[in-house]
Amino acid sequence: MHPASSVIVFTVLSGLGLGFLAFLGIGAITPIGLHAFILYGLGYGLTVIGLLASTFHLGNPQRAWRAFSQWRTSWLSREGVASVLTLLLMAPAAIGAVFFNFPVETFGFPAALLAILTVFATSMIYAQLKTVPRWNHWTTPALFLTFALTGGAMLSAHTKLAVVLCGVLGLLEIFSFLQGDGRFAARGSTMETATGLGKIGKVRMFEPPHTGSNYLMREMIHKVGRKHSQRLRVIAVVFSALLPAIVLLVLPVTFAAIGLAVVLHLIGAFAARWLFFAEAEHVVGLYYGAR
């Protein structure tokens, strides 16, 4: 699949922002006054920047409000509804902490739950697609949720929890990389099932339908950069999980140490998310003799 930068920025930043808001919501840290203003601002900022970035890949973003209507069947719609509800419900908690010097968990708990549900809905947009076997698996929501919680734990300075979550995240990434490699074959879709000509024999592409490219090929058949995938997998695991864990274990808990850990984590998260798209193979490629 084509790794569109808008969607990568969206899923990484809003995941981190929502994870952090969840920690703020349950009162895992209880900032007040200016401190609260900065921290809630960070959580809101990351989430909103991410959500805005997601509209950049739309053909007609001016109609985006319509996307709130189909929550009964569509994970994309559910994500939209859940994200807006999260930001609305978190507001009383944020205002209470910033202006009235008391942390409000009454609104914080449901908002935290919604923040996690939003991340889950985002992951299900990908995990629901039978057409992309690598995504169509429980590891997709597990990875998105662990990324959000790990980043949230770091930003809220729960270093011990963050280190544990880094461990879980690293193992989960390695497992999903390796297990994902065999999933296209396991799905059983081949050029023979795609064309129904398997009863006659082995099928290969003779002539594509056109000499140039098309939307489907640009969007679903992405080969550029897959040759670097092994190196990027190492970068993803080392930066998103290993290095932040070492930083948090070795350095004293200071603003700078947490900042460093988060920056390292984000570099790894961007590499992992780029791979998430670039390595995903869509079954439509079979009609083009490509993956």
Partner: protein, 245 residues
């Protein structure tokens, strides 16, 4: 709404005969023509006269080579458009309700005024039946020529999808695949029509009829058309001598 109907009164669809299709792409051209001038925004082309032309098509003809275990390979021309699936994954993923499946005839359509162009439906379709128009930013797909088949302004003979009407070889058939008595259902029954990628559970309505197996290849390979000229006399002696070195 993007909830799929429990059942549809009809299952309108296409039956494509891979034994007959000659790969002329007339259906591609007539589809592009009709659907550029009628329902919805035109099917745009990008860089049409430049070095990297591409465009939106609702129907494309692929060509495959099938190699049996024994004997010669055979070429199969393979037209592909929306299969109007009963369990259409493209419809349920739509966040705006722009994609829908009609309860009356089972046609899957896009309300272009509600489409935000997120592209998720194209991701959900295994068959590559949906293409995001790069000029209008909305999703385009086969409408089964919904503006022809019920159009009383057209002569009755033309009330068929443009691709079916235009196919010079008669490789395309249109009808109600939900009615076992219909001509298309009978054809599927008689010829062993099959569906594409059944393992993905989309329950496509369109069916494909298998190509006949190739005749046995000739026992003798073809003899060369021109006999190699053999030099005689002195030239022949020289020729044989030179071959030794």
């Amino acid at each position: 709404m993007t909830e799929l109907p429990v059942s549809t009164k009809k299952k309108l669809g296409l039956v494509i005969d891979l034994d007959i299709c000659v790969g002329c792409h007339a259906c591609v051209t007539s589809c592009k023509g009709w659907n550029t001038e009628n329902y919805g925004v035109p099917l745009s082309d990008m860089d049409a006269y430049g070095s990297d032309p591409s465009g939106t098509f609702l129907n494309r003809v692929h060509s495959f080579e099938v190699q049996p275990e024994k004997g010669a390979a055979q070429i199969v021309h393979f037209p592909k458009s929306c299969l109007h699936c009963e369990d259409a994954p493209c419809v349920t993923v739509c966040p705006t309700g722009a994609s829908y499946k009609r309860e009356d005839d089972g046609i899957v359509l896009v309300n272009e005024n509600a489409c935000i162009g997120c592209g998720l439906c194209a991701w959900a379709c295994p068959y590559g039946a949906r293409e995001l128009d790069q000029a209008a930013g909305v999703m385009k797909k086969c409408t089964l020529c919904v503006d022809r088949i019920y159009n009383e302004n057209l002569p009755e003979v033309d009330r068929l999808p443009a691709c079916v009407r235009t196919c010079p070889a008669g490789a395309r058939h249109f009808g109600d695949l939900g009615d076992p008595e219909s001509a298309v259902s009978q054809l599927v029954e008689a010829r062993g029509g099959f569906e594409l990628m059944p393992e993905l559970g989309t329950k496509p309505v369109n069916r494909y009829l298998p190509p006949r197996l190739k005749d046995k290849p000739a026992a003798q390979p073809l003899t060369s058309l021109i006999e190699e000229e053999q030099a005689t006399g002195f030239a022949g002696w020289l020729d044989r001598l030179l071959e030794k070195f």
